[in-house]
Amino acid sequence: MLAQVIVNGILTGFVYSLVAVGLTLTWGVMDIINFAHGDFLLWGMYTAFGLWSVFSVDPIFSLPVTIVLIFLLGYLTYVLIIRRVLNASGLTALLATFGFSMVLKNIAQLVFTANYKNVTNTIFGGDTIKLGSIYIRHDYLAAAIGSLILSLLVLLFINKTKTGVAIKATSINRSTAQLMGINTDGIFAFTFGLSGACVGAAASLMVPFTPITPSSTALYSILAFVIVALGGFGNIKGALLAGLLVGVVESVGGYLLGTSFKYAVIFMMYLIVMQIRPKGLFGW
């Protein structure tokens, strides 16, 4: 039974990782706390739901659409809002994203109402694989594998491509990056878009097994905050591993102490870990 619980935790953990990788890009790299991150996820999920309910597109095929759309949402968030508060204190930007979060959430409520929406009968839905005594649902597995691949792609992108290294350089020293001929404004806009793309992808991967309502994604925001801090701000590898850890701790904690405690266990773990490593598990 415990093995089953751990496997479940790992599978959710990979999805958490992807959401957190998106957040660590904007928070760690740009030092902007994006309170609308969870609402990006929400809109990704509603997009997938809309495509499924109107055009019967399976979420796995709407993945590219949500990636592109939420990339654009992130990009626009930067261009319309973040750019204008970039030089003010960090809390100012936070306030702006908080306002934007209100806007996104309430538009969603206006359009989709507060009722729970479910995407059913998906390609991977329902079926399970049996490995010994462990059952693995196809849709969970697909979400986990998809998330892992995408997280690794982002990691590779940041470390190996010219634009990726430019993102790192810009995060270290913006004005010097400008002197290298890097269009830092464009880099920031792209980073915000990339952050959106991560949650957009996570949204499509999650909808087969996650009911949607305007307030359902706030929790993912909070979990992503914790994961990003746990992994060390701006550390993509850290976010990936910390996401996995949080998934497992949540699952095991819930199993041992009851589901109402599963999040408390995560927060407790954060407090304890940070006493030992005050800059995160994998912080520089």
Binding site: W27, I33, F35, I81, R84, V85, N87, A88, S89, L91, T92, L94, L95, A96, F98, G99, F100, S101, M102, V103, K105, N106, I107, Q109, L110, A114, A218, I222, F225, V226, A229, F233, S260, F261, Y263, A264, F267, M268, Y270, L271, M274, Q275, P278, K279, G280
Partner: protein
């Protein structure tokens, strides 16, 4: 006499505000809606002042002040309901418990810096939320409804629902007390030390400040103030559940303070006024229906305010004062040598 005059002139802004808060509730007559709004403004401004001590003056951002707000609220509710304790005493107890909790938790947590600390404060309030949502003693998931017992005058202000004025003025008095305390602290050794820590940890240590201790002092005071706000809130709202520990609640204190001007004693009250007046205006204009259209516009307004005034509303005043000072400086340099320009206090 001269001294008193100076007190009035230097703080004229505060006195104008105070006069407004005394007169407006009377002027609007028995308009319960406006009275309610004013009470909200004052409660959140009061907690905002507390949040400002630790996050504005001392520079340690807290995303978890709901923890202390909630403790204050639950203490008043539990003591009042179960043991018929007067809210005054309940609030005092709430302050002490909140301060003690702040000490116990934060002495350890202050090893963390910046965002790592902010997330830790969030973690603390989320843990409290879980505990309070399952703890039968505090009502568990059902929360606590403040009981009406007219024969028991213990819950003094919960009695008359129609007349909010006495409660409003008590809230105002408590806010003024907190405001004056914060203003005095700002100009004391404590305030200077807090700001030094905010600006540079290393400098603070190098000039003989123990940052750990002073941060804990700020947090304890801040927590106690938040608890007072919670105590007032629960008497006013008459119901409390574990939602009070959520990030949404913590964020209101952050919002009103940053909106008004962080690190400025006027920030929380100005921000709170703007926040609730906008909120009220939106609801009046668009109706409080479930559509949430008012919240959409409200969100846009927050963005607009922040984008155009990133230093908060008080930033506008600062700009005006600075510009006037510069002009004065230039003028005095033009006429005489700058030597005569030695007046002017350090009121900032």
């Amino acid at each position: 006499m001269v001294k008193i005059n100076k007190l009035f002139i230097e703080n004229s802004f505060a006195f104008v505000l105070l006069a407004l808060f005394i007169i407006v509730p009377l002027a609007v007559g028995e308009n319960a809606d406006i009275h309610n709004i004013i009470i909200y403004i004052l409660i959140y401004a009061l907690v905002g002042e507390g949040w400002n001590l630790i996050s504005g003056f001392t520079g340690q951002t807290s995303f978890g002040h709901a923890a202390y707000f909630g403790i204050g609220a639950y203490t008043v509710a539990v003591m009042g309901n179960k043991y018929d304790v007067v809210p005054w005493v309940g609030m005092l107890a709430g302050m002490l418990i909140a301060a003690a909790l702040a000490f116990l938790i934060n002495y350890q947590l202050f090893r963390l810096k910046g965002h790592y600390f902010a997330i830790a404060t969030l973690a603390v309030s989320e843990i409290l939320r879980t505990i309070f949502s399952v703890w039968p003693y505090v009502g568990g998931g059902d929360g606590i409804k403040i009981l009406f017992r007219p024969e028991n005058k213990a819950l003094w202000l919960a009695i008359d629902v129609r007349n909010r004025l006495p409660f409003l003025y008590i809230t105002l008095a408590l806010f003024v007390a907190v405001f004056v305390l914060c203003k005095m602290l700002e100009n004391s050794k404590m305030g200077y030390y807090w700001k030094a820590i905010r600006e540079s940890h290393e400098v603070a240590e190098a000039i003989g400040i123990n940052p750990q201790n002073y941060k804990v002092y700020a947090m304890m005071l801040s927590a106690a103030i938040a608890a007072v706000g919670g105590g007032l809130y629960v008497q006013f709202f008459k119901y409390i559940d574990s939602y009070v520990f959520s990030l949404d609640v913590s964020m209101i204190f952050v919002l009103v303070t940053v909106l008004g001007g962080i690190g400025n004693v006027y920030g929380p009250i100005i921000g709170s006024i703007i926040y609730y007046v906008l909120d009220l205006a939106m609801r009046r204009l668009l109706g409080g229906t479930a559509s949430g259209l008012n919240l959409i516009i409200f969100g846009i307004l927050i963005i607009v305010v922040v984008v155009y005034q990133p230093k908060g509303i008080m930033g506008i005043f600062d700009d005006i004062v600075n510009r006037r000072r510069l002009r004065k400086l230039k003028a005095s340099q033009a006429t005489t040598n700058a030597s005569s320009n030695q007046t002017g206090g350090d009121s900032k």
